[in-house]
């Protein structure tokens, strides 16, 4: 292997809810790279991230992660998957990031709490430890979840739509954090929607539309030709979906 690959995919096909979501993707995420995963709605971006985390198995092909255990990945699910009315303190949410060390039974030590406080400080929420997660704004919640990613201290960080419905100041702060992770040599993969953000901050991108449209240096990926091809493909699915529904009935 010539490149220092962290995740290599070989002809990977993924299905979600028994419907094929992504076809025949091959390629490598290089160690230390900062990649944005982009594409129209329903293009399989989240499915790809879930597969890397190990939540979904490929129906065909091989996806390998080199040198990191599945369990050591820092994963931030979409906020819609999180029950934000659940009665839980900010500190507890961050401490979940230490699950590898605490497991279901081990004692939470003072030094673990200090780690949690430290990471809350880093995301700009110093002194918020005892606040209820449910009482916070969407932006603050996302900061808390980034603090949880911080304490995991992983070499591979996966963020699924981290900036949905969040104020611009929070987005700026969190992007700085992502750039810092990149600087530290961690591999970061983020599902994003805002192409301007991607152009500005993400050196590499992967454009999906149920199959790989383009992958590489961002300015070569985000060309109008590629984007319109992705859009055209996404318009074709809506008919597809109807067919699937009819067959289902």
């Amino acid at each position: 292997m010539t490149i220092d690959s962290l995740i290599s995919m070989n002809n990977v096909t993924l299905a979600y809810d028994r419907h094929p979501a992504i076809h025949h993707v091959s390629g490598d995420f290089v160690r230390g790279s900062l990649t944005a995963v982009i594409g129209p709605n329903g293009s399989g971006k989240s499915t790809l991230v879930k597969t890397i985390v190990g939540l979904i198995r490929p129906v065909e092909g091989r996806l390998q992660i080199h040198g990191i255990n599945h369990r050591d990945i820092a994963y931030l699910p979409q906020v819609t998957n999180i029950d934000d009315s659940f009665p839980i303190s900010v500190e507890d949410v961050v401490l979940f990031g230490l699950w590898r060390r605490t497991g279901a039974f081990c004692k939470i030590t003072r030094s673990m709490c200090e780690e949690a406080s430290q990471s809350l400080y880093t995301v700009g929420l110093e002194g918020f430890e005892k606040r209820a997660f449910s009482s916070m704004s969407a932006g603050q919640r996302q900061r808390v979840l980034f603090a949880r990613v911080l304490v995991v201290d992983s070499q591979l960080i996966l963020l699924d739509e981290p900036f949905n419905s969040i104020d611009s100041r929070t987005i700026n702060d969190l992007i700085q954090l992502i750039e810092h992770w990149h600087y530290e040599g961690r591999t970061v993969i983020a599902v994003l929607h805002d192409y301007d953000q991607v152009r500005k901050y993400f050196p590499e991108s992967l454009l999906l539309a149920r199959e790989l449209i383009a992958w590489g240096v961002t300015k070569n990926v985000l060309t109008s030709a590629n984007l319109s091809r992705a859009r055209a493909m996404s318009e074709a699915w809506s008919d597809d979906n109807l067919d699937v529904c009819h067959v289902g009935i």
């Binding site: 939540l55 994963y75 029950d83 009665p87 839980i88 303190s89 979940f96 699950w99 279901a104």
Partner: protein, 291 residues
């Protein structure tokens, strides 16, 4: 003083069936803490209800095989409840039907089948006994069973608490970390069925869930943390049981419904004046905004 004694304590000194009933309520209350609170937090309140009803055919088959025998009826009930839970989990995993819909369908089948079985093989009295319970006729065997279920539930609560919280709050995160988030869900459902079987001894399959859900929904009007919700739920369940027993004794009312109605009154009271989202409080703050 004497009147107070006669009203509040006397019945329990004078009659062993009242003492047994009180201990039964106490045992149920311990189970209701974790079960009720997590059912509410997981938005499975109504699923708890359907689980309670779905134990009926198992209870009926136990009854057919060995008459009013606690171990046979409980084992049957547990198996039936667990079968319904597993099968509906299976349905929602392999079809597009959601968990609530599959639970609702299976529990109706289960309930109808159960009523049919009891009616064919027993008398109406037996049916009433199974549907509405008989907390005043609890024997040693039932008490031992209920106490065991409470103990198992408390132990299991200590073991799975952290996992259950993470699984409720952020299921994908937990599954990504250890790959078996579903394990907590299954274990929790087993505990739910166990407590429903235990509750059916006292309150019957129709109302077993009353002493589990009502205190849990009530507690949400007063406290915010999971641990305090569990403590308060247990306390409310026990108070409802005690007050319900006293009132049903003094006024010669059926005990099961009285207990559940007391829990219901505490719920309505909390709904009105509760310190979190209580109606009264909301009216007050609205007035505050206006002025």
């Amino acid at each position: 003083m004497n009147i107070l004694y006669d009203w509040l304590i006397g019945p329990f000194f004078d009659f062993s069936f009242m003492r047994r009933a009180l201990v039964a309520c106490f045992a149920l209350s311990f189970g209701s803490g974790i079960i009720g609170v997590f059912l509410v937090l997981r938005r499975m309140s109504l699923i708890g209800d359907t689980m309670a009803h779905s134990v009926l055919p198992g209870v009926a088959i136990g009854f057919m095989v060995s008459g009013i025998s606690v171990p046979a009826m409980s084992l049957g009930g547990f198996l039936a409840g667990f079968l319904v839970a597993t099968f509906s989990g299976f349905i929602c995993r392999f079809t597009s039907q959601k968990e609530d819909a599959s639970f609702a369908s299976l529990f109706m089948i289960s309930l109808a089948f159960g009523v049919l079985l009891v009616s064919i093989h027993g008398s109406t009295v037996d049916l009433m006994h199974i549907l509405f319970g008989s907390i005043l006729a609890i024997d040693d065997m039932s008490l031992i069973l209920m106490a065991s279920v409470a103990s198992v539930t408390l132990l299991a609560q200590a073991v799975i608490f952290r996992g259950l919280v993470v699984e409720c709050f952020d299921p994908l995160f937990l599954r990504a970390l250890n790959g078996y988030g579903g394990f907590y869900h299954v274990l929790f459902l087993v505990l739910v069925v166990l407590n429903m079987v235990s509750g059916f001894q006292a309150l019957g399959t129709l109302m077993a869930v009353g002493l589990i859900m009502l205190p849990a929904t009530t507690a949400r009007f007063w406290v915010r943390e999971v641990w305090s919700l569990i403590c308060l739920t247990t306390l409310i369940a026990f108070i409802s049981g005690y007050v319900g027993l006293v009132i049903s004794y003094q006024f010669n009312l059926p005990s099961g419904p009285t207990i559940v109605l007391i829990a219901g009154m505490i719920y309505l009271f909390s709904l009105t004046v509760g310190s979190i989202d209580g109606i009264f409080l909301q009216l007050m703050t609205r007035r505050h905004f206006r002025s």
